[in-house]
Symmetry: C2
Subunit: 181 residues, 2 copies
Amino acid sequence: MSDEVRRVGRELVYQGTILEVYKDHMEFANGNTAEWDFIHHNGAAAVVPVMDDGRILMVRQYRNALERETLEIPAGKLDKPKEPGIDCARRELEEETGYRSENMEKLLSLRTTVAFCNERIEIFVARDLISSHQHLDEGEYVDVKSYSLNELKEMIFSGKIEDSKTIAAILAYESRYVHVK
Amino acid sequence: MSDEVRRVGRELVYQGTILEVYKDHMEFANGNTAEWDFIHHNGAAAVVPVMDDGRILMVRQYRNALERETLEIPAGKLDKPKEPGIDCARRELEEETGYRSENMEKLLSLRTTVAFCNERIEIFVARDLISSHQHLDEGEYVDVKSYSLNELKEMIFSGKIEDSKTIAAILAYESRYVHVK
């Protein structure tokens, strides 16, 4: 806890389907108090699937929260809080794209929105993709297509790709594997 | 709306301090129904402040949601839903770091966590920084320090920097301005 601001209470105010919503009671060094929002999420994993020709497999799906389709790297929630990220990433890769991989490497992990949520996403690079079968969850409808890194960068900088895990992952892949000095 | 999954109702279940929490009633093409979480956030802006020597100004602060300190680019919520991102970024730069800039350029925008939240962050690059005065909000305590791009990349790939807007912004800055071919 910090010296200047400390949490003196945490109340569950809403149990969602995948989220728990809390009201945190905060106290500042000057004695003032405030209520802050806190959202608990169990975490997720995602994967940058790189084909043998260097193109990257992406999924297009309708996102209720944005009321439009998004283009993202394959990703999904952990099955249970302690599930290893790599197991989740391997499963989501196969479920969403219909490809498996035995060559998965950690790229980075991120926190989606640190001001109010603890959601963590572990991100992997998958290579040596093996054709398998797509099998989606109910309410999940996903189009799969491959793009070159330059096409993806153009979409990031023109605002066509906005998803933060996707932007971080694609640019991290470029920084680490394409622009190595 | 998508053909395969559509929202048939939205209920406000909790009004937070900065968030609105909704229960969305969804219906699938097969007739089944589900309840999905949706969080409304008014949006934010952030800035990559580049000093004349190429080092980047970063802020270290305690984050209640993670229960630890984070190293991030300066950022903050829009004052009102329609506030232009560049005005918010300019204000947060001065408030958090004590530097102003009249040379702000759009870098990218992102959505922090598209599975359940509409939060959008517009990110700018600020140059020609002019020394001014830090003035923080109540409950905000921020240490400011500059880092080289290589130091920041080392921290991203070793997991010391996890904040998604910071990772996306730093790597986008590198991709656009440092690795130009």
